[in-house]
């Protein structure tokens, strides 16, 4: 029953991803490994599409992943799965919001959760980089051929541009797509 599986997988994602959209990435990679529903390259594409479409990043990725896995109903089931734990937890917390906010134990938990969240997002970034910046099928020992130099140059340029120009990420995504087409990145 693919829809039930999808629902449960995304419930788990919604329950354990703390810090918003990018924090769902490690769970998508785990799903990719354990279920084979989509590939690492699919996930990189999902991030790109989700960043350039309105709505929360995590919601968009869940919809996309669900569609890739189970068509339109899959997209709906995955998204509802992702939001269900949130709604339940917030409805409970809102009954004693003030207490929760100033609770020392909550604060201490976040002392551990924040670096964990950064680590998980950084590790997800490595997964994307392994697809975007490296030539597949080439051994690491042949470093010159292993690195996709075209991609590295583009990445450095975008990084510099984002530091200097306060443009919306969508614009950089569009530029990257154009560069990819002109210089035949694939």
């Amino acid at each position: 029953m693919i829809y039930l599986q999808l629902f449960l997988q995304f419930c788990k994602t919604g329950l354990f991803s703390i810090g918003g959209g990018l924090a769902t990435l490690p769970f998508l990679y785990e799903m990719s490994r354990t279920t084979g529903w989509f590939s690492y390259a699919d996930i990189a594409n999902m991030i790109a599409v989700s960043e350039s479409t309105p709505g929360a990043l995590g919601i968009n990725m869940a919809t996309y992943a669900g569609i890739v896995t189970g068509g339109i109903p899959g997209g709906i089931v995955a998204t509802v799965g992702l939001t269900t734990p949130s709604i339940i937890i917030i409805l409970i917390i809102s009954r004693f919001l003030k207490k929760f906010k100033d609770n020392i134990w909550v604060e201490r938990a976040f002392y551990g959760l924040r670096p964990a969240s950064v680590a998980l997002i950084a590790a997800a970034g490595i997964n994307v980089a392994a697809i975007a910046l490296v030539n597949s099928g080439v051994s690491f020992t042949q470093f010159g051929a292993w690195v996709n130099w075209k991609a590295v140059v583009l990445g450095a340029a975008i990084w510099y541009g984002q530091k200097k120009l306060n443009w919306h990420p969508v614009i950089f995504i569009a530029i990257a797509a154009a560069v990819g087409i002109v210089f035949q990145f694939a």
Binding site: G14, F16, I18, G19, G21, A23, F27, E30, N45, I47, A48, V49, S50, E51, T53, P54, G55, A56, L57, I59, N60, T63, Y64, V68, G75, T79, L82, T83, S86, I87, I89, I90, L91, S94, E107, R108, F110, Y111, G112, P115, A116, S117, V118, A122, A123, G125, V128, I131, A151, I158, Q162, P169, F172, A176, A177, A178, G180, I181, F185, A186
Partner: protein, 194 residues
């Protein structure tokens, strides 16, 4: 019923114009809900964000649920959240279905190969932004290093640890070894974004 419908429509509109979610929606929520409709105060809104980003799930959904709940209880929470996700679901569905039929075109492959490079940079930026607020002493550095290593090398390790377990472990470690009563180290109103 009319009020629920109003909540739904209002959040549908917000969902349609928010790129990225998270803090990107704060100015929009402020304009729509605080200034125009007087549904919540700006202080309440900031509280919702502060708590919404340190509770599980998507920040935008958490904040929508808070506001809906404040207006109309659990039904309002559902109406607001469903409203928020309606337009994105429709848009992503259309895009995903289109992409599936065009995915084999060389031009689409090239475009996405370029876009993936941009995604790397976006993630790098998110990590550097979160870094300062999250990793500020030896213990937080250690937590980062261990979880990063376990996740990156999960393919070559004999056992794979689920991110869910890592998250729970990090919370437990924080409770056990976190700072005692010193609130200056953990400013959760400014912690993570997105």
């Amino acid at each position: 019923m009319k009020e629920l419908w109003e909540l739904y429509l209002c959040f549908a509109r917000i969902g349609a114009v928010t790129f990225g979610g998270g803090y990107a929606m704060l100015p929009i929520l402020e304009r729509e809900l605080v200034i125009k409709r007087h549904w919540v105060t700006i202080d309440e809104l900031m509280d919702y964000f502060a708590v919404g980003q340190c509770t599980p799930g998507i920040i935008a959904v958490n904040v929508s649920t808070f506001i809906g709940d404040k207006r109309k209880g659990a039904a309002g929470a559902l109406a607001a959240t469903l409203g928020f996700i309606t337009i994105p679901i429709i848009l992503i569905t259309i895009i995903a279905l289109c992409l599936r039929s065009f995915a084999d075109l060389q031009v689409v492959k090239n475009a996405f190969a370029g876009i993936r490079v941009c995604v790397c940079v976006l993630i790098l930026n998110a990590v550097t932004r979160l870094w300062k607020k999250s990793i500020f002493d030896v213990k937080t550095g250690l937590i980062f290093a261990v979880i990063f290593a376990l996740t990156v090398f999960s393919g070559s390790l004999p056992i794979t640890v689920s991110p869910a377990i890592l998250v729970v472990a990090a919370a437990v470690i924080g409770i056990a070894f976190g700072p005692a009563g010193d609130s200056s180290t953990g400013n959760k109103t400014e912690g993570a974004s997105k």
